[in-house]
Structures are given as C-alpha cells and as structure tokens.
C-alpha cells in the first residue's frame, strides 16, 4: 500500500447504513468486523479506500464498508482492480473474492494480477463451496464432497489457493481464518506489503459446508493444529511442544517434538518470510500429518506494476507539451491549393 497521511477513524466510520444480508452465523460477519476494526488501526482514509469484488457471497462485502466500493462481475475483480490502480495508483484498494470467483471462473485473472504485482490486498474467502448458488462443490472442495451437482461425491482434485498464488509469482502470501483473533495482524501485514498481497481466509459456510475447517479453526480446542508463523521466530505449534524441522533426506519438512521448550535441540527451523522455497513447502503441507500453516507465509516485495507504469508515464510526459495538431500532421504530407470542387 502507498504512503498516506494517517486519518483518525473508528470502527463506526467504516460501517454503512446498509443491512448486512449474509446468513446468520456466516463466517463473513467475523471477517467484516476484523477488517472494519483493522482499517482505523492502519490510519486508512475512507475517501481513498476502494473495495472491489466479483460475484458470490463474499463479493457483497463492499456494500457494507463505508468507503468507495465496486461490486463487479463474476471472476473479473482483478481486472477492474488493475484498471483502477493504473488510473490512480494513490488509491488504497482491497479486493474481496471467493474460492469459486477467484480460483474457478476468475482463475486466469487471479494469476495475472499476482504475476503483474498490482498493489492491492486480495482477500480470498475460501469456504470450499458455492454458497450463493446454493451449495455446489467448488474448485477447492475436497474429493468426495457431496453437493447438489455431485450427489455421489466430487471426484476432481481441489486447487490450493496459496500454492496457486506462489506459482503465479505472488510476492506476499498469508493465511488466516474468519474467527481468528490473529486475522487483523495478517491484514495489517498484507496492507504493509507494497504489491499484490494474497490472503487466503478460511471461512465457515454454516449452511452448505458447516464446520469443514473445524480441525484447525474451531473456536475452541483446535489451537493444537495451528502453526502461526512469525518472521524470525521458530516454527512452533501445540503450545510449543512441537515444531517444524528440515527433513534433509527428503528435501522437505518434518514435525519434531520439542522437549522442555528446547526447540534448538529439536532442530526447529526459524521462519523466514523471504525464503521462497520454504514458502512453497509450507503451502503444500498436507493437513493431518502437519498443522495448518497460518499467518504470513511469504513476504518479499518487488516493484508493483502500477507504480512502475506510473513512473514510466511520468517520464514519457516530462517536459513535453502534447501537440495534437502536430501529431495529426505527422508523416508525409502534401498541400493542395486551389478551389474546392463539388464532385457532382
């Protein structure tokens, strides 16, 4: 996100007068509150903030944030964001999408906004189901998901949003979940990153895919399975009794027990947000044998496309007075003198 003068606001300032229309108990409420709580802490200015979304339950988000908002079409939010940021790189843009919107119909655009590295916070709400169209399995649904369109269980393999993001060239990848108290910290890190910041937020669809993330995201009792990553800190979980260490032989990671808090002796790795290889391993860890890697997985900025384009344009225009008349008369010309003649 760009340099800006911090503005003092409260949570109330970021609430619209519109009735929120998600199902009661939907994880989206928690995410909305987390965002609305975070924005004042970041000193964001509602007049310079734009929320852009595609289509789906998550994409109703802009209507509930008192800022500029654009609810666009299915899967295409990244393209709108690109146009907005190229037209005005000063705007602070948040993009809200879902697993169907961002990984299926809009997968191509997700790839390209990450590859180009547009300066935007991308929040992908992953509930592993199509909610707004009443419960069909989605590109992130696990094999065997029973849904109206897969009554015998789904067969195709799920996409992994964070792995996809890294593969597309993302320079910031993070994970959180709807009711996590750590979500605001993840959002702040995303906001601090200049360039495309990709955040996968696991979200509980209580109507069509209830509690599917309970193994690591249940309000109580799932902490054991959460690995909250912190740059420069050992990768510990289960209250510090376990950690991730290098499995040199297999060129991957392994879970090790930590005795009496001596993580060094156990060989636990220190998390490095600039280690791209480590990031690839963390987003691919199979849940079950491994905990769910959460927090900032990767954060290694590169120049944002919109900033580079804007400098390039400014350079091209520097000291030049655009002369349209000269442009029109460019190339080889000739002059006709004499009188006009009516062709008929």
């Amino acid at each position: 996100m760009n340099d800006m003068t911090p503005v003092t606001t409260t949570l109330k300032d970021w609430e619209t007068d519109q009735e929120v229309r998600w199902c009661p108990g939907c994880g989206d409420y928690a995410i909305l509150k987390a965002v609305q709580r975070t924005l004042p802490q970041l000193g964001c200015d509602p007049a310079k903030t734009v929320f852009v979304s595609g289509i789906g339950c998550s994409s109703r988000f802009p209507y509930y944030v008192e800022s500029y908002g654009f609810h666009t079409i299915h899967g295409r939010a990244p393209a709108f964001v690109t146009g907005i940021k190229l037209a005005n790189p000063e705007l602070d843009v948040w993009m809200v999408t879902g697993d169907g919107d961002g990984m299926s119909i809009g997968g191509n655009h997700t790839m390209h906004i990450l590859r180009r590295n547009i300066d935007v916070q991308i929040l992908l709400f992953n509930n592993e189901i199509y909610g707004l169209t009443k419960g069909q399995y989605s590109p992130t649904s696990r094999i065997g998901t029973k849904s109206p369109s897969t009554p015998a269980g789904s067969i195709d393999r799920p996409a992994q949003p964070c792995a996809f993001a890294l593969g597309s060239g993302a320079r910031f990848v993070a994970r959180g979940f709807d009711v996590s108290k750590n979500l605001p910290d993840v959002l702040k890190a995303a906001h601090a990153h200049r360039g495309a910041a990709f955040v996968e937020i696991f979200q509980n669809c209580i109507v069509y895919n209830k509690d599917v993330f309970n193994d690591f995201a249940a309000p109580k009792g799932a902490e054991e399975n959460q690995l909250w990553l912190e740059n420069g800190q050992p990768m510990l979980f289960a209250k510090g009794t376990k950690g991730l260490a290098r499995d040199v032989e297999a060129m991957t990671l392994k879970v090790v027990d930590v005795i009496d808090g001596d993580w060094e002796a156990a060989g636990v790795m220190i998390h490095d947000v600039k280690n791209r290889t480590l990031a690839h391993m963390l987003v691919e860890l199979p849940f079950g044998p491994f905990p769910m890697a959460l927090g900032v997985i990767y954060d290694d900025p590169r120049p944002a496309y919109d900033a580079v384009v804007s400098e390039d344009l400014a350079r091209a225009r520097e000291g030049k007075k655009p002369d349209l008349a000269a442009l029109l008369a460019k190339g080889q010309t000739w002059t006709v003198s004499g009188t006009a003649q009516d062709p008929i």
């Binding site: 310079k48 654009f70 295409r76 006009a340």
Partner: protein, 649 residues
C-alpha cells in the same frame, strides 16, 4: 470510378486501378503502401484495399498464400478501391491464377517469368504455363524475367541470392512509378530511413527501384507498356496525408480524450484486425494515453471500466469474437452508468470466421447483443478519414451521457488508406468533464445528501472519482435504487430504472445531427440506405445511376443507434428503400422494426467489399422491374468479382 482508359493505351486518363499480387513473402503490402504514398504525393485522390491471407507465412507459391494490394487513384473523387483492375502485377503463377479473373478485359498483366517455373506452376495448379498457351489472350500481357533483371541490378552490392531476390518488389515498384509518372525521391528517402542500419540494403533496393524505372523508359517502344498520366484531383485546399482507419480511430480517440479533458486508458488484447489500434496508441504516452495489454478480452474491457470508474476515459477495442467475450462487462458499464468506448473492427464471422476479411455482420451484436434490456449508442465509420470524427463523437456521447458507446469499423476501413485533409483540432467544440466534488442533494432534514444516481437533463448520473472526500458510495451490477444507488430489487424500481436507462440512450438522438441525403433528392423513387464502409461503392453506384437518369438517392447513417430523429420521416418520402450491407440484412431489419418501412436487402458476405458494379446492377434491375416490383432479395452476382477463396479449393 469513371470509365478508365487502359494504361496500355498511352495518354491521360481519369482513374486507374492497379493490383499488386504476389506471395505473402514478396512484400506486396509494402509495395502497395509506398505506391500509395507516391500517388498521394502526386495529388491524386485514391482508395486502397489490402487483401492478405490469415496465415503469417503461408507456404511459398500456394494459392492460399497470395497477398494482394489494390489501389484506385484518379483525378476525380475516388471512394472505393475500384472494381476490376486495369493493371495486374503478378509476381508468381499463384498470384496470376487468384487475381486474373478480376482483371478488366483489355487490361494489362505484368508477370515475372522467372517465377513461372514447373514447380511453381504445379503449386498454382496450372497444367501448362498460362503465359505461353494463349489463355490470357483477352488481356495485354507483358511477361519478362523480373527476377533476373533484379539480380542483375543489385549485383554490385554482393548480396546473397535470396536477399537479392527480396529486392524484386522494389524493381516492380520502380516500373509502376514510371508507368504512372511518379517521382522516385520519396521512396529513395523511405528506403534510406528503413535500412538506416544496413546502408548496403538501402542502396541495393534503390538500385532495383531505379532499374525497374529505367526498364519502363527503354521498353516503351517494344510492347503494350505505355506511360499514363493521371492529373491531380482538384480537392479542397489544405494540408493532406494518407491515413488508415486504425490510425484515424487512434488519433480520434486521443483528440476525444483531450476535448473531454481526460487521460485515456486503453485496454486491449491482440486480435486481427483490431490490434493496429493498440499498436498506434502504445506510442502516444506523452498525450496522457496509457495502453494496457490484458490477459484476455474480458480483462481488457474490465480494466477499461475500472479506469473509467477511477476517472479516466476507458477504451477497449476488439473484433467480433472478442466483442462477444466483452458482453457481460458491457452490461456492467451500462448498469453502473460509466463512460466507455468499445471499438469493434468487424471481420467475417461467426466464430473465428475470416480473420483478415471484411464484413458488417456484428450490427445485431452491437445493438442487441447483451443480456437484459441493455441499450447503448452505436456509431459506424464510413471511411478511414471519417473514423477520426466518429471516434471523437463516441467520446462525447460516452462522457455526456455516462454510457458505454460502441464504435463500429471493419477490416476494410481499418487497413485501407485514403488521403485525409488534416483537421484543425481547434475546430472541434470541447466537452470537458466535470466530476462531482460535493453532495448533490438535500435530505428531508436539510442536511446534504449524495445521490450517485441522480440524473441531469440528459438523464446522465454524476461521475464521482474515488478519492473524493465525503462522496463514498457503492456501485455494482445489482439493480440499484433510483437516486441512492443502493441495492433494490423491488418491481417498481426495476421498472423505473430500466425505463431511465432506455430513455437516456433514446435521448442521445437529441444531440446528434439530422440525417442528411448525401446524394440525390430528399424524396423519390428509390433510396439506398447504407452504414459503415459500404459508403464508397454505394455512393459511386448512385452517382452513376443518377448520371443515367435514374431517380435514386443515397442516405448513409452514422448513428446506427439511436437513429437520427428524422430518419423515419425521411425514408417514408421514398417509394422504395434498398439497404446494401455486408451481412445477411441486419440494418434492413432494424429499419423495418423502427419505422415499418418496406426496406429491401442487398447483401454480400464473401469477405470482400461491394464492387460498384454490383450495386449499380441492383439499382438498374430495380428500375427495370418497375412496375410490378414485388421486392424480394436482390442477390449479388458473385461471378463478377471472384474472391481468391472462390478459386482456391
């Protein structure tokens, strides 16, 4: 084109049609382009028609690899690339086979015997050499070894055989310059600039050009080759240049953005024949033009809408298949009432169709091709030069009415060149945009309120840039409440908003000029109603028919949606309405629907523009049939001007 004297009879003539044809790799488009420039500099009016295959490098010598460039030039107004060529330059047997049937009887064939080898004759599916078996008897034939003459001319420069033969097109151009009494200096200058990095190639090409020219002078006595002089056209005084439709649209968009006082954002994705616009605009950064090559057609329009939302003039451009992909996003721009220009360089369809050939078959798509009641204004350019004014008009309507506007051009206009009187930008009335900067309404309690969907006298809503303090609001594709723009699905509101969107676009007709009759009387027996690139052939056909005493007029519609307010009454002043168009009768249907007039179609979908004679014949047939003219479709006789495809198996 007035009746031309064959250039094989020396002297002065009014107009000439020359077609250069060769292999895709022979540089025929380049030759044609430079001949066009020298013709323009000589003061003739002209029109060109580049006709090339979709394949980038089709196999050498094949029928489908033939690339042709036709130019019609003269001392009177020229509005088409001409029907039948007077001169055909055939660089190989395939070029001869594909193009010779179109040549005017008595016309001149110039052929390179060096390429009429057994192998090339086989590739062109000739059983025997047509240059030797008398099959070309109805034309004048000038066959000689251009390849050998070129090799001889460039010998001093020590080029390899392949490189040396590449100079053949310049040799041919040199001969053509001699034939029509054109100066060589501009081509010399151009070659020096083009080959600035390898002066030896520049020198070799100049030598080839000069040799071709000298050959003309010395061969004068020996055969059918004669020098022909075409007087300069008497045209309006001023500064002129040649311009293609793609150039004119690009420049018109730049001018339009300046008149609106906005930066321009252009989102595009490569597609033939629309890409040329992206290429032109990509070089104009200093005019506050930003081009963005998107990942696909959809992203291109969505980014343009995003830029419009952020306060720039969003533009996107494509051809039929790409326009189809953009349809949903156009609906969003209509729903959110944001300005946007969509340029459609039409080509033959459906699906991939004929990527490099011309057609006008996207009219329904332009006017009707979206889900829901989704009206938008549609403007069609009639010629390369006209495309400049049309682009400005599209910008004006888009920002004044807060609406996407579709600008229709086609493959013919995009690639064809014509002389263009360079306009003075100061002669166009500016239409600067005023963004909303403060709340625009009052609540019941007297406090200020923002109504993003309040409407002005044109029915347009305010344009509000994100970043403006105090005016935060949300827009989107869901139906919005009148005024506030909040989500509102209620029946009465949807009715009211649908009506408001329709009324707004209908109201665009209040800001466009009345439809004129561009040739002929304001009422009478027959009117030909055209739109887009058929202007040239219709106009010339009507002119000829009128000279023959027929009561026929020409009306050419720029604003195809909404239509000019007087068009209905105007058409009702004619007993008969004939609509020539390069599709199966789309505008005819629109006119019938709008005015209940008995419009009759004259259609052509061969990928080639109308020949003047095809329309002239239809007019004559029409008058022959009166009385007892029962209407019915007037079919074009395709045998008059066979396309390369018709010959190519």
């Amino acid at each position: 084109m007035a009746s031309a004297t064959s250039p094989s009879s020396a002297g002065t003539t009014e107009a000439v049609v020359v077609r250069f044809a060769g292999d895709s790799g022979d540089g025929m488009q380049l030759t044609g382009g430079q001949f066009t420039l020298s013709t323009a500099l000589a003061g003739n009016d002209l029109a060109t028609f580049p006709d090339f295959p979709a394949e980038i490098r089709a196999p050498q010598g094949t029928l489908f690899g033939v690339s042709a460039f036709q130019i019609n030039f003269g001392s009177t107004a020229i509005e088409t690339a001409g029907d039948a060529p007077d001169v055909l330059v055939a660089m190989n047997p395939a070029a001869l086979k594909v193009n010779v049937a179109a040549l005017k009887p008595g016309g001149l064939i110039i052929a390179d015997t060096g390429e009429f080898t057994k192998r090339n004759l086989e590739k062109a599916k000739y059983d025997e050499n047509p240059l030797e078996n008398g099959s070309l008897a109805k034309w004048d034939l000038l066959a000689f070894d251009i390849s050998a003459l070129t090799l001889e001319a460039v010998k001093p420069f020590g080029l390899g055989n392949k490189e040396a033969l590449r100079c053949k097109n310049m040799w041919t151009l040199g001969l053509a310059l001699w034939m029509f009494d054109r100066p060589r200096d501009p081509i010399h200058d151009w070659l020096k600039a083009k080959f600035a990095k390898s002066p030896v190639l520049a020198e070799a090409n100049i030598a080839a050009l000069d040799a071709g020219h000298a050959y003309g002078e010395t061969a004068e006595l020996t055969g059918p080759l004669k020098q022909v002089h075409v007087e300069p056209v008497v045209s309006e005084p001023g500064l002129y240049r040649t311009i293609t439709g793609a150039e004119a649209i690009s420049l018109g968009l730049v001018a339009g953005a300046q008149l609106a006082d906005l930066p321009m954002f252009f989102g595009g994705y490569p597609i033939t024949p629309a890409s040329a616009i992206l290429h032109h605009l990509a070089r104009l950064k200093e005019f506050n033009v930003q081009t963005f090559q998107a990942e696909d057609e959809i992203a291109a329009i969505c980014a343009a809408i995003g830029a419009s939302y952020a306060g720039q003039l969003g533009v996107t451009s494509s051809s039929g298949p790409g326009i189809a992909l953009k349809g949903e996003a156009m609906g969003l721009a209509i729903m959110t009432e944001l300005p946007l220009i969509i340029v459609n360089s039409q080509r033959g369809g459906p699906s991939t169709g004929l990527p490099t050939k011309t057609e006008q078959s996207d009219l329904y798509q332009a006017i009707y091709g979206r889900n829901g009641d989704a009206p938008l204004p549609v403007i069609a350019a009639r010629s390369p030069g006209d495309a400049f004014d049309c682009a400005i008009e599209a910008c004006r309507i888009a920002v004044q009415y807060m609406t996407p506007v579709m600008l229709l051009t086609d493959g013919y206009i995009a690639n064809a060149a014509e002389p263009w009187k360079v306009p003075d930008p100061a002669s166009y009335a500016p239409f600067p945009v005023k963004f909303l900067t403060e709340k625009n309404a009052k609540n019941a309690d007297g406090t200020d309120e923002l109504l993003p969907f309040a409407r002005d006298e044109k029915g347009a809503r305010p344009w509000i840039k994100p970043g403006t303090p105090g005016l935060m609001h949300r827009i989107g594709g869901i139906e919005k409440a009148q005024g506030t723009g909040h989500i509102d699905y209620s029946p009465a509101n949807h009715q009211a908003m649908t009506d408001a969107r329709k009324d707004k676009i209908d109201g665009v007709a209040n800001s466009i000029p009345d439809q004129d009759v561009c040739l002929g009387n304001q009422s009478g027996k027959l009117v030909l109603v055209g739109w887009g690139s058929t202007f040239g052939p219709i106009h010339q056909a009507v002119r000829r028919a009128r000279k023959n005493g027929l009561d026929v007029s020409h009306v050419h519609v720029r604003h195809v949606w909404p239509l000019p307010k007087n068009l209905g009454p105007l058409l009702k002043g004619f007993e008969n309405v004939l609509v020539p168009e390069m599709n199966t009768g789309q505008f005819k249907t629109v006119l019938r629907d709008q005015y209940l007039v008995d419009a009759q179609p004259l259609t052509k979908t061969s990928g080639q523009p109308f020949a003047i004679a095809e329309i002239e014949d239809a007019i004559e047939k029409f008058f022959d049939d009166i009385p007892g003219n029962e209407g019915g479709e007037v079919a074009v006789n395709e045998t008059q001007l066979p396309s390369p495809e018709a010959i190519n198996p």
